[in-house]
Symmetry: C2
């Protein structure tokens, strides 16, 4: 899942960044239950991670636990949400309003995590001017103009696999700084561009394979 | 992303299973371009993986490359699709028809990869009897009856985080064998149950953090 092309030495390791949202979800649950403090041991036990790992992960967030009582839950939630970027608004464009692309436009939940999808783009003329879940869809030829106007930093790639690299090159040239790639294609990007791959099909493949192994064993 | 609770020794390593769909996507592209053969070196170069790793990954699929010409593309596609379970039909139920759940019901693309979502379930009465993208939605109380009738093996979890464990327990008791968890909660399952976590928010967190680091450096 790492961006193979990037050699930048990031301050916070990717595994830490991937674990922090788990901690956040758990601590929010504790708050709902009326708790005020949480220890790294408690988090560790729930998330199934070593408690020294939890303390190390949280040290990146610049929050200190108190001896015996642990972390104050309200502060921890506020600091984690801010650190993870969920409280800021990040402008995004979505490229490829097919089945998955349209589905993501329908998911208003992403907005609550700081991702503001401002427009969708597609090469099909019949989609130009449509609106999905309140989000306008434009023809791909309007991207440079809309980018000038709205200044998105994130591009969500949901185009067909054979167009993935072409669209990637085009939108990076247009000023997109980070790509969320949902295609099963390994896109290539210049060193300063951020890539996250969410390969739903890879997850399906793992699930199907494990399921088959279990069913074969049971027979 | 691994299922921490499972101690089963799987035949095919998870990293291999996650790479194979990348190979498949690339090889399908080559076919579109009219190619007939592909070497592991070619795949390796494109995907940015060591070529001995590609050969090792493909050895699990039980396909042999020929000296000099490599793998026959038609055969490789057919064998990979079958091995990954994309050509079979896997019956699934989706739990939690909120924003993300409804979005996934809209994504007909999953069907092409062998995931047949037969019904959605939700606790809200007003959704009972609705249809999204041709898929019926029922009240959660109808799950046991529908499970008896349709026999789903996969459960897609898109409920609110505080309900994730409760729903997990309920549907495993009802006979669901594999869970595709989209919530940011680490669900606990018995050893024989398969879990794949697709944490969209974790990917967002990594992307936002990298983006901030870059923008800070540029200033």
């Amino acid at each position: 899942m790492a961006n193979g092309g990037t050699k930048t030495a990031w301050k916070v390791p990717e595994p830490t960044l991937r674990r922090l949202p788990w901690y956040l979800a758990f601590v929010k649950l504790l708050k709902q239950k009326g708790e005020s403090f949480v220890s790294s041991t408690q988090i560790a036990k729930e998330i199934n991670v070593d408690s020294s790992q939890v303390a190390k992960d949280l040290s990146f967030v610049a929050i200190a636990g108190k001896t015996r009582v642990g972390y104050e839950i309200d502060t921890l939630i506020r600091v984690l949400e801010c650190f993870l970027g969920f409280t800021a608004s990040h402008k995004a464009f979505l490229f490829g309003v097919g089945s998955l692309g349209a589905a993501l436009l329908h998911d208003s939940g992403l907005n609550q995590y700081g991702l503001e999808i401002m427009a969708g783009f597609d090469v099909r003329d019949e989609l130009d001017g449509k609106t999905i879940n309140g989000i306008p869809v434009f023809h791909m030829r309007n991207f440079p103009e809309k980018q000038q106007e709205l200044g998105a930093t994130i591009g969500i790639i949901t185009v067909p696999v054979e167009k993935a690299q072409e669209v990637t090159d085009e939108i990076i040239a247009g000023g997109i700084k980070a790509l969320w790639n949902f295609t099963p294609f390994r896109i290539r990007v210049p060193e300063h561009v951020v890539v996250q791959n969410t390969s739903m099909y890879a997850h399906l493949a793992v699930m199907f394979n494990r399921l088959n192994s279990i069913q074969t064993t049971e027979k």
